[in-house]
C-alpha cells in the first residue's frame, strides 16, 4: 500500500508534509472501502445464497436455482430488486433516526471486518486491542436496532427494538468473558497475536488447551448467535410473533442493509471463532512460501465456514426461545459458567504452565475427547438415517 502511495506522491511532486499525510489517509480509506465493499458485500450475499440452499436441502426443497447456473447469482438479483423498490418512510416515523438506523447497524457489522485476519499479512489493521475493538464496534448494532424500532413508530417494531437491545446487551457479557479467557491464555488482545500463539495442529489450538477454553468456545458461539439475532435467539425479529420486529416498516435498500449486516455478522461469527479458537490461518511448516498467502486465505475461509455452517444448521433445526427463557439462559447459565471459565483458566495456567508436559498431554486428551464426540455424533446420525429408512440424496445440485 505504502509504495503505491509513495509513487503517487513522487509523480505529482507533493512535498508539503500535511498534504502527504492527507494522501496517505485518503489512500488508506479508499483501500479499506474497496476491500470491505469488495469482500464483505459479496461474502454476505454468497452466504445468503448458501444458507438458502442448505436450508432447502434440510427441508426437502430445491431452493433458489434459477438465476445463473444453480442460482449462484440469486443474491445479486435480490439486491438489485431491493435497490429498485420504492423507498417508503412512514409519515409518522422519526425521519432522521429512521434513516440513520440502518447505517449504524451496517457500520457496526462492517467495522468488525477491520480486525479479521485472513492471513499473516492479509489484515486491514492489526490493532493492539483487536478483540476489545471487536466487542465495542459490534455494540453499535444494538444502538441501530433500538433506533430502528423506536423511529418506525410501530408497536411491533418497538417491541422488536426493545427485545434486541435487551438481548444484545445481555449476551455481550458472556461473549466478552469468553474472549477474556482467550486473552488470559494468549496474553494479548491483538487478533494476530492470538493466532500466532497457536499452531497449525489441532492440539495447539486454543480451543483444546484446557476444558475451560473448550467450554468458552461454545459459550462464545452461543452468545454470538444471540448477538447476531439468529435462531434460536431470533427473538427481536421473530416473524411469527412480531411480524418482522424492528424492520417491520423498512423496505427497499434500507431493509436490504439490515439483512446484509445480518449475513455479514454470520461470517464474523465464523471468522472470529476460527481465528480465536481454531488457530486461524496457521499453516503446517512444509508449505512453500510462494503459495503461502493464498493457502492461508483458503485455510482461514475454510475454517470460518465451519462456524457459518454450524450457525445455519442450528437456525434451521431449532425453535425460538421465549423472551424470559432467553434471559434465563444468559443470566442463569452462560454468565456464571463463563465467570467460572475465567477463574478456571487462570488457575489452570498457574498449576499447569504452558509448554510443559502435563499441559501438552491435557491438550492431546482434549483433542481425543472432541474426536470421540464427533464419532458419537456420526453414529447417532447413522442410526437416525437407518431408522427413518428414507432414500438419501447427497448430490447438492438439483
Amino acid at each position: 500500500m505504502k509504495p503505491l502511495l509513495d509513487s503517487l506522491i513522487a509523480r505529482f511532486g507533493i512535498t508539503d508534509p500535511g498534504l502527504t499525510l492527507g494522501v496517505y489517509a485518503t489512500g488508506m480509506v479508499v483501500f479499506c472501502a474497496i476491500v470491505l465493499m469488495g469482500f464483505v458485500a459479496p461474502a454476505a450475499g454468497i452466504i445468503s445464497f448458501i444458507e438458502r440452499r442448505i436450508a432447502a436441502r434440510m427441508q426437502s426443497r430445491v431452493g433458489p436455482n434459477r438465476v445463473g447456473p444453480q442460482g449462484v447469482i440469486q443474491w445479486v438479483a435480490d439486491g438489485l430488486k431491493c435497490l429498485l423498490k420504492e423507498d417508503l418512510i412512514p409519515t409518522e416515523a422519526d425521519h432522521l433516526l429512521f434513516r440513520i438506523a440502518p447505517y449504524l447497524v451496517f457500520i457496526g457489522m462492517f467495522g468488525a471486518f477491520v480486525v479479521i485476519p485472513f492471513g499473516s499479512s492479509l489484515v486491514i489493521a492489526d490493532l493492539d486491542v483487536g478483540l476489545f475493538y471487536l466487542l465495542g464496534i459490534t455494540s453499535l448494532v444494538s444502538v441501530g436496532l433500538i433506533m430502528a424500532g423506536w423511529a418506525s413508530n410501530n408497536k411491533w417494531s418497538l417491541l422488536g427494538g426493545m427485545r434486541a437491545a435487551a438481548q444484545i446487551v445481555s449476551y455481550e457479557i458472556p461473549a466478552g468473558l469468553s474472549l477474556l479467557t482467550v486473552i488470559l491464555f494468549a496474553g494479548t488482545m491483538s487478533v494476530q497475536g492470538v493466532i500466532r500463539s497457536q499452531g497449525w495442529a489441532p492440539h495447539t489450538w486454543l480451543m483444546f488447551q484446557n476444558p475451560f477454553l473448550f467450554a468458552s468456545y461454545f459459550i462464545f458461539f452461543t452468545a454470538a448467535l444471540a448477538e447476531g439475532n439468529r435462531t434460536p435467539f431470533d427473538i427481536p425479529e421473530a416473524e411469527s410473533e412480531l411480524v418482522a420486529g424492528y424492520n417491520t416498516e423498512y423496505s427497499g435498500m434500507r431493509f436490504a442493509l439490515f439483512f446484509l449486516a445480518e449475513w455479514a455478522n454470520l461470517y464474523i461469527i465464523g471468522a472470529v471463532s476460527a481465528a480465536v479458537f481454531m488457530g486461524g490461518w496457521q499453516l503446517p511448516p512444509g508449505v512453500p512460501d510462494a503459495v503461502r498467502p493464498v493457502a492461508e486465505l483458503l485455510l482461514f475461509l475454510g475454517k470460518s465456514s465451519i462456524g457459518v455452517f454450524l450457525a445455519i444448521w442450528v437456525r434451521w433445526t431449532f425453535p425460538r426461545l421465549r423472551v424470559d427463557q432467553m434471559m434465563e439462559v444468559c443470566w442463569k447459565y452462560l454468565i456464571p459458567i463463563s465467570f467460572a471459565n475465567v477463574v478456571g483458566t487462570a488457575v489452570w495456567m498457574v498449576f499447569l504452565p504452558k509448554g510443559q508436559l502435563p499441559a501438552s498431554a491435557a491438550s492431546f486428551v482434549m483433542v481425543a475427547l472432541a474426536a470421540f464426540l464427533v464419532v458419537l455424533f456420526v453414529r447417532r446420525v447413522r442410526m437416525n438415517l437407518r431408522e427413518s429408512d428414507m432414500p438419501i440424496h447427497l448430490n447438492p445440485f438439483v
Binding site: 436450508a55 434440510m58 427441508q59 426437502s60 426443497r61 408497536k155 411491533w156 417491541l159 435462531t231 434460536p232 431470533d234 427473538i235 421473530a238 416473524e239 411469527s240 410473533e241 412480531l242 411480524v243 434451521w316 433445526t317 431449532f318 425453535p319 425460538r320 426461545l321 421465549r322 423472551v323 424470559d324 427463557q325 437416525n384 431408522e387 427413518s388 429408512d389 428414507m390
Partner: protein
C-alpha cells in the same frame, strides 16, 4: 426515585398478522411482553354459508360445505351428507361408506399435519413445516386421483361418493401408510422431543378438564385436557363401529394435563390412529359390491329437523337442518370446533407472553373459515 409512569399498550394483532392462521384478529392489552387481555375479534372471513345453504338445493350446497373448513373439506362433506341422508332416509351403499372413511381419515392426517407443522413454525422452527407439507402433498395426490381436486374436493355426495376408487388406488394408500408410519417417529425426533420446543409449550395455557367441558371444546383440544370423548367411538356413524382404534388423550407427559404440548402431541398420536383405521378400511374393503352411489334424484326430505355431528379434525362438526318438504332447507346451522376453541383464548391467554399467544392459537388449531363460515 419517582415512580415511573407506565400504561398498558393496546396491540392490534391481525387480521393480517403472519401467524394468525387466516384472517383472525386479536386485540391485546399488554404490559410490555405480558398479555393482560386478549380479545378475539371474529368475522373477517364470514361468507354467509348458512344462509347460502337455505337458498340452495340440498345437493347444490355440498360444494359449499367444502369451504366451511377448507383444510379438511372431506370431513365437512361427510357431516353435511350424513345429516341430509338421515333427514331424507337415504341408504348409502357399503362401498361408498368405505370410500368415505378412507378419504376422511386421509384428510384428517393432512389436516393434522398442517396443525402440527404450523405450530412448530409459529414457535420458530421452520423445518418441520416443509416436512409436514411434503407428506400432505402425497395425500393431496391420492385425493386428486380419486376426485380430481386437491383442496376443495366435493367428493362425498348425498347418497354416496362422486367417483369410484381408481384401479390400484387402495395399494397406493397402503404404500403411503407404510411410509408415513415411519415419518411420524422421524417427525418426533425432529421436533417433538426438542428441548426448546417442549419448554415453549409445556405448562402454557393449561385448559383443565372442567374448563374444557364448560367452554364446550371438542375434538383433539378436548381430549388433550384428558376428557375421553370421541364421536367416532362414542356416537358412531358410518362404518366406525367395525373399526378398531384408540382415542389418544393428553397425559401431561411434559407438564400439566391440558397444556399446549398435550394439544400438540394428541394430534401426532391421532395421525398414528388414522393410519390404523386406513389399514383396516383397506383390509375390509368390499371389492365384491361395485355400487358406490345410491340412486338419488332431487332430494326432498319430509318436513322435520335433524342434527348430526361428526368428528372432524378440529373437533365436532355438526349440521342442524330443518326441512319443510321442498328441495331447499328452511334452516341450516353449522356448529364447528374452531369457534368454541376461539372463545377460550380470551380466558387462557391472560398472563401469558406475546409469544405464548401465538403458540396458543396454533395449539388450539383454529382455522379462520371454520370460525366465521
Amino acid at each position: 426515585m419517582a415512580e415511573i409512569k407506565t400504561e398498558e399498550m393496546v396491540l392490534n394483532m391481525g387480521p393480517h398478522h403472519p401467524s394468525t392462521h387466516g384472517v383472525l384478529r386479536f386485540i391485546l392489552k399488554t404490559d410490555g411482553e405480558i398479555v393482560h387481555e386478549c380479545l378475539p375479534d371474529v368475522g373477517y372471513l364470514h361468507r354467509s354459508i348458512e344462509k347460502i345453504g337455505e337458498l340452495m338445493t340440498f345437493q347444490g350446497f355440498v360444494p359449499y360445505t367444502d369451504r366451511v373448513d377448507y383444510v379438511a373439506s372431506m370431513n365437512s362433506n361427510l357431516a353435511y351428507c350424513t345429516a341430509v341422508e338421515k333427514l331424507a332416509g337415504i341408504e348409502v351403499p357399503r362401498r361408498a361408506e368405505f370410500l368415505r372413511i378412507l378419504v376422511c381419515e386421509l384428510n384428517r392426517i393432512s389436516s393434522h399435519l398442517i396443525a402440527v407443522g404450523a405450530l412448530a413454525m409459529d414457535v420458530g422452527a421452520v423445518t418441520p413445516f416443509p416436512y409436514a407439507l411434503r407428506e400432505r402433498e402425497r395425500i393431496n395426490d391420492l385425493l386428486e386421483e380419486v376426485c380430481g381436486a386437491r383442496l376443495t374436493y366435493n367428493y362425498i355426495w348425498i347418497g354416496g361418493v362422486s367417483f369410484d376408487a381408481t384401479p390400484g388406488w387402495l395399494d397406493k394408500i397402503l404404500h403411503f401408510v407404510e411410509t408415513f408410519e415411519n415419518i411420524i417417529p422421524e417427525f418426533n425426533r425432529l421436533i417433538s422431543g426438542n428441548k426448546i420446543f417442549v419448554e415453549r409449550l409445556r405448562d402454557v395455557a393449561i385448559v383443565p378438564r372442567e374448563m374444557a367441558i364448560d367452554y364446550s371444546l371438542s375434538g383433539p383440544n378436548l381430549r388433550a385436557s384428558g376428557v375421553d370423548w370421541d364421536l367416532r367411538r362414542d356416537e358412531p356413524y358410518s362404518i366406525y363401529p367395525e373399526l378398531e382404534f384408540d382415542v389418544p388423550l393428553g397425559h401431561g407427559e411434559c407438564g400439566t394435563v391440558g397444556d399446549s404440548y398435550d394439544r400438540f402431541i394428541v394430534r401426532v398420536r391421532e395421525m398414528e390412529q388414522s393410519c390404523r383405521i386406513l389399514r383396516q378400511c383397506i383390509a375390509k374393503f368390499p371389492h365384491d359390491q361395485p355400487d358406490f352411489r345410491a340412486k338419488v334424484k332431487t332430494v326432498k326430505p319430509p318436513p322435520g329437523e335433524v342434527f348430526v355431528r361428526t368428528e372432524a379434525p378440529r373437533g365436532e362438526q355438526g349440521y342442524y337442518l330443518i326441512s319443510d318438504g321442498t328441495a331447499k332447507a328452511s334452516r341450516v346451522r353449522i356448529r364447528t370446533g374452531s369457534f368454541t376453541a376461539m372463545a377460550i383464548i380470551e380466558e387462557i391467554a391472560v398472563g401469558c407472553m406475546i409469544a405464548d399467544v401465538i403458540a396458543i392459537i396454533a395449539s388450539l388449531d383454529v382455522v379462520a373459515p371454520e370460525i366465521d363460515r
